[in-house]
Subunit: 363 residues, 3 copies
């Protein structure tokens, strides 16, 4: 496919360098781990993701890099499969775990230790899930991040050496409480509220940025470009996923407009749309619609899981994505209208589609 | 077996008609889906179930039919296995999802859309669970309904376009709070309370009716007749299950008498008793006792899961049945005192028993 | 290995007697069931565990024996695999279930019935998990106890015939609430508080005693001797596990000093350290470190799961051990730095290590 040539021209010299230098190979592994958060096994995508994060917050970026390095090193020390390590499959949960803990906990001398411990755990959980799910051709997705981060976040109520930020607020549920649906940047004020083009654009890009907890328009835009570098199909579904999350919560179901503005109904839908739209199913019209319905379910699950955790005040993280994507990936070839992709065949959506077409022609 | 002949005489012409007419075949599929809620792959049983529901509430019946149609169509559009669709295996979760959402949420323009989305999801979850559990010969039971309905019910706290009914009441748990055990129709009054024959009969039949959320003596009676049309063994265990649920909660453990009266300790025990008593194990004396103990555990689980969900005010639905039946079906042939039935062999309890006896004679 | 000879001299005559007498064989089965709580398939270890329990509380001991007998008899009546029964694999969850219910519920005429029902359930859950996990060479651990006890404990809020003790206190979570970290015996007083040698010794041994809910220094000491009778490696890791739990919670994370004193951060770490340190992985330097990290994660999980259950006021039981050990056992040979042990090869750590070395020499 023509569109991949410019990127390959850019990355070819880098690939040669990584073959010769151990340190550069390790950097390449880290960057791929960063890219794998959105299923892009591409160091350039990973680098752009990192830039997008640091544009918004150097502190969150630092926490992410700690988690990324620790989780990758853990897999290397314990001698996991080298191809999996090189593809960044032990890094993507680590970077999310690092950012997640730094987002919900206050910085103090214990926090870096906590991030390191959780980062190590994320790679052990990853290997557990690879063993449990791999034989069924089901990917672990970001479940190792969700589990590791939840384990360490829940515990902080009982540990005095760690303090949660304002983002963690246990609350009693009240069925009669009104949900404030006006699309707006501030939680309690209506300044700047309304279905304006600017507000919709903010919501759209922040939905992509929030995949890495980055509540920032520019970061969301950089992320979208980063995906585009590796796959036009994934970039399209990232955008469609953010749209589905935004439109479903805003117009169909009437979610909190403050959440919508900050992309909180978007990021899980983004991930579900990318995963089901072209990565774990060959992209066809039926699988495209199936992927967008999965993004819609991820949006509903964002509310469900948040409600479930509200007595603890804990965040849903990317659990809505993991649950919805598992539910939509598990049927595999049980639905003959869809053509599923085995884990060994997963590359990027364009190549998967091409391989499938060539195979179909050969018959 | 002689008792099946009259029913077969009734259904034989219908079967011929369904072979010739696409629309009648679809209606037959829907009716079987309705019957499968209690493991009865029989359109007449399904029709009587529907009548029983409409006798109590046309609105709940309508919601159920929407869910039934949507979930069945989803499986057809996605091209699931045709035999499974025809046996009603994609409809039974859909009808329960429809009724469940309409029972716990107020009717408004968004509710039908919500039911349709949840109905589609229920068939996708069904296929997921069939893939996960099928290789172990473990049935999905009503887990797709429970998961789909929970996902959509939990979310309503955060969606202004949907409102919950009075049945959803988040509450703080108090260990010292007294449980009011008098058997009675009204929650706070003692009018008509006491262990009277009428109250016991009410509790018994409502326990069967509540399988479909139908809090109605007559509906429970119609349901029992509906099961009897297809299987005397299943009807017996439905009745025994309701008895176990009622007697355990009322006399042994001291449950809320208002819950007992309205069959809330009965319906999960009914389903567990039918499933373990003759469907997934060959009916013998040991498996009969095992089934009744499973019904007792379902009764305890009704309390456990309700307590677990009480901070959210969310209903246990048929999760107590799913959990107890899975725990009792999973041992399979690990207990040599029991003879388990593979999923491919599951028909109705009488035929399973006959096939097992013939096989035993042949050896 | 020389150290096992004295023990074998002690147990050899007993083994002969159990071969000849049905009743003694049953007693032997019960004692092995008791020993299996800490992975020691040894009747003498089990006897010493029982003595340790009765030293602290005859009533808890009685409840444990009821659970032990009932769960073992259930497996015999249902005809589970005889070798598994004889190895005590159906007893260890029963004894924990009995003690657990008696610890958190008040004695009354219904409690023994409740313990019997939960004890029966524990053996059915055990067989379920053996079927689900066994094919992956993953042990059920104490999950059948945790599930059975939770099912019966959660339910008591809704059953008037059972009352919970003061140990069950539902509470709202407050992120700002201060955690009192001083190491001390009494919850609200600072009498005797501080990092004193006596307090540390108390915490260390109570951490081992709490595996069976025994909050007692002497009992913890007897337990350690009981393990030593069967395996020096397991005794070492029990001690290391208790240390990891105590030191991590006390110094690294700042847990409640009252919890630390009473061993509540110790017992899950003890079990995780024994399981991963020499039982399910061959003991090597890498697996030793891996086991201690697993014990640390069990300590964090004690806080996480307690927080998760705090709106219900329910105890974490040994769920922190089960979750952490599963996460660390599931990677199996996915990490080439570790050498996992299949379920069929599990004996005691010394024998596993010797067999592995002989195998390595043969190559």
């Amino acid at each position: 496919m023509e569109h991949t040539i410019p990127v390959e021209r850019l990355t070819a010299p880098w690939e040669r360098m990584t073959n010769e230098n151990v340190l550069l190979r390790f950097v390449d592994t880290l960057l791929r781990g960063c890219g794998q958060v959105m299923f892009q096994n591409n160091p350039l995508t990973g680098l752009l993701f990192l830039i997008g994060i640091f544009v918004n917050s150097a502190l969150l970026g630092l926490a992410g890099v700690i988690g990324l390095v620790v989780s990758t090193l853990t897999a290397m020390v314990l001698k996991a499969d080298n191809n999996a390590i090189r593809a960044g499959l032990f890094g993507f949960n680590g970077i999310l775990t690092g950012i997640g803990l730094a987002f919900f906990l206050k910085w103090n001398p214990t926090l870096p230790v906590y991030i390191i411990l959780a980062g190590i755990l994320s790679s052990i959980v990853m290997m557990s899930l690879v063993n449990v799910l791999g034989s069924r051709d089901v990917p672990a997705l970001t479940a190792p991040f969700v589990l590791s981060a939840w384990i360490f976040l829940f515990a902080v109520f009982l540990f005095s050496h760690l303090q949660s930020t304002q983002a963690i607020q246990p609350a009693l549920l009240k069925p009669s409480a009104a949900v404030q649906t006006a699309l707006r940047p501030l939680p309690t004020s209506l300044v700047g509220a309304g279905i304006t083009p600017l507000n919709l654009v903010e919501a759209f890009f922040r939905g992509i940025g929030e995949v890495f907890f980055q509540d920032n328009l520019l970061t969301g835009l950089i992320f979208l470009v980063a995906i585009l570098v590796n796959s036009r199909i994934s970039a399209l579904f990232a955008a469609l996923g953010s749209l589905v999350g935004m439109l479903t919560s805003l117009f169909l179901l009437g979610g909190d407009g403050h959440w919508v503005y900050h992309g909180l109904y978007g990021f899980n839908a983004v991930l579900s749309a990318i995963a089901v739209g072209g990565v774990f199913y060959v992209l066809t019209w039926p699988s495209a619609i199936y992927a967008l319905f999965c993004a819609l379910i991820a949006t509903v699950l964002m509310a469900s899981i948040s409600v479930f955790l509200s007595p603890l005040g804990m965040p849903a993280l990317t659990a809505p994505f993991v649950v919805s994507a598992w539910l939509f990936i598990l049927p595999r070839n049980g639905f003959l209208a869809l053509r599923s992709v085995t884990l060994g065949e997963v590359t990027n959506p364009e190549r998967i589609r091409r391989a499938y077409r060539e195979q179909a022609l050969a018959h």
